[in-house]
């Protein structure tokens, strides 16, 4: 029982991270029908931005104020980079086929990975702990780390903020309109270019927050950290129903838990823990073959 609860907590922690990243995938896909392969790398950029701020502005001194500034600073930086990526790489190819935009996204992903490998080298950097680690005992052997609590609190706050933006603000209404039908939205006088750029900024900021939170939980950052995490977050978005915001959160949590349970219990049924990375893909394949619209997505009939 104790191990089960412990695994659940660990799974939810990593799941919240996937959920935050999956939100960016799902919003961009909802609007542009583009798998933004570079999104996982924006998460990495966010972690590095946080690293630079905490080392150069705070000299790695731990404090809660420093943490908040690092969090918002890296969200701001990654958000601007997200907007820049959209403006420079994706907007010029938007009028071409989906294949072209997909390949551009792959190119952008490689570009960010290689650029950061060039600048920071491939050697992992240890992220300064801005909030010293403390473990709390809940009951029995079950412990929770304060960085885990931080991940839960920050991701819930960010998700509520996102939900507020999307449901109750003017730009949120515009985003929903554009994702419903881009051309009609344009005809109704919505500045679609601005809405798309805003969506990229918002998604990238959420990914950066995930990057900083992960760096507090597992303080090692490296240029390829976004590769696997990004793919799994994308799987989470598809699992929940791509384009669907609550679906992305649900998918993220499910993928995170599936992964920790394979590591925790896999040996008992003959699945070694090295299969951890394969689980997400196996889930993805099953979902797409059985229910391509995802758990919460609605089935859209293809019009001929």
């Amino acid at each position: 029982m104790d191990t089960f609860v412990q695994q659940l907590i660990n799974g939810l922690t990593i799941g919240s991270i996937y959920a935050l990243i999956a939100l960016g995938y799902t919003m961009v896909y909802g609007i542009l029908k583009l798998i933004n392969f570079a999104h996982g790398d924006v998460y990495m950029v966010g972690a590095y931005a946080g690293f630079m701020i905490s080392v150069y502005a705070f000299n790695s001194q731990p404090s809660i104020i420093a943490f908040l500034i690092v969090l918002f600073g890296s969200m701001l930086i990654a958000g601007s980079i997200g907007i820049l990526i959209e403006r420079l790489a994706y907007r010029p190819v938007r009028k071409f086929s989906r294949m072209t935009t997909l390949i551009t996204a792959m190119g952008m992903s490689l570009f960010l990975e290689y650029l950061f490998t060039f600048v920071f080298t491939g050697i992992p950097k240890s992220f300064p702990l801005l909030i010293p680690n403390e473990n709390y005992k809940i009951f029995g052997e079950v412990t929770i780390n304060n960085s885990q609590i931080l991940i839960f609190v920050v991701s819930v706050v960010l998700m509520i903020a996102l939900q507020y933006i999307i449901l109750y603000t003017k730009i949120g209404k515009a985003m929903r309109a554009v994702s419903f039908n881009l051309n009609s939205a344009k005809l109704m006088g919505i500045n679609t270019d601005f809405v798309i750029a805003f969506t990229f900024g918002l998604g990238s900021a959420l990914a950066a927050a995930a990057g900083v939170l992960v760096a507090q939980y597992q303080p090692k950052i490296f240029p390829l950290m976004g590769l696997m995490t990004g793919l799994k977050a994308f799987v989470a978005a598809v699992l929940g129903g791509i384009g669907n915001i609550p679906g992305a959160v649900l998918g993220g949590l499910l993928i995170g838990m599936a992964e920790t349970f394979v590591v925790g219990y896999g040996q008992n049924v003959g699945i070694p823990s090295t299969y951890r990375d394969a689980v997400a893909f196996a889930i993805l394949i099953l979902v797409l073959l059985i229910r391509p619209a995802g758990l919460l997505g609605s089935n859209v009939q293809e019009k001929v």
Partner: protein, 374 residues
Amino acid sequence: MSSWVRSLIGGIAIIAVLYVISLMMSEAGLFGMGIDNYTARLFVFIAINVILATSLNLINGFTGQFSIGHAGFMAVGAYASAYFTVNYGEAIERAVSGSPGGAFSSALVLILAIIIGAIGASITGLIVGIPSLRLKGDYLAIVTLGFAEIIRIVILNIDAVGGATGYQVPGYADFLWIGFFAVITVVVVHNIVRSDMGRALISIREDELAAEAMGVNTTRYKVTSFVISSAFAGIAGVLFAHYNKFLSTNDFQFIKSFEVIIMIVIGGMGSMTGAIIGAVVVTLLPELLRRLPEIQVAGTTFNFADLRLVIFALILILTMIFRPQGLLGTKEFGLSWLKRPRVKPEGADSVGGTEGTPIAEDPEAKHLTSEGDD
């Protein structure tokens, strides 16, 4: 000259060229002209990449189904054949010629290895293809990527093929064999594209619904082309394994699949010569960029050679922005323009300037340059 005589002469000429190059690669060289090991290795990798790019082009370029899992099939071919040669290669050689290392017996082992690799990869292709090809576009892409990663992780967990420590493989393949199979791949894919089946594949690419309405069994053709494509990826894997003499699952990460995609995209999807040019460019460009100088900025040394992969990614993005159809589009580059003057079809100029090109060869065709907003 009848066409088979021309093909025969062409075939002999190509094998002769390959033979001359492989002689130049040998230690003795050819009349004092030699190719150093570094260049020889580049030649080999170009040939392997030609196999990969041409075969992926069959499914991505001609059938229009976007697969990004080619590295997975390559891995299956490489590991299945390597397991065979490591465990049975020497025994077979002894049984055939008494001692290992003979020209005939090692060729026999390599051919058996290639057959095993191709069969292994095509069975995997069938298993992956039948469910996946029901999906379209992005979803197909991401599922093939998922399958390739699963294949890699499964291989990583098989201790019989070395697992995470890597796998030592005997070196049966040399440039002559690899070049020969590159030529075979190009010829086979070229003939498929020119055949009835190729027309059916192109019709699926242009409009799947219309193709189905015309009586093309789209599922069967899609799966067939997927299996053929996987088989050749497997052959590329076999040749890579037996040239490199060492296998690690890191060689088959999805970055490898991306690389093959980049080759056909740069060359132009749906162009045979484009895929070949793409394979050459993608193999050589990073090597050429290696020669960039070092410079010092503010006390830190920046080695521009390390930037080569950044520049490479940038070239890919810029190609997409400025020439989304790739260098050649769906056109072919060849010597046919030397042979006869091109006669425009009558009234060509009056038909909106498209010069009477069929939609499949028209670089401005809908599938490449525009997409209805949906």
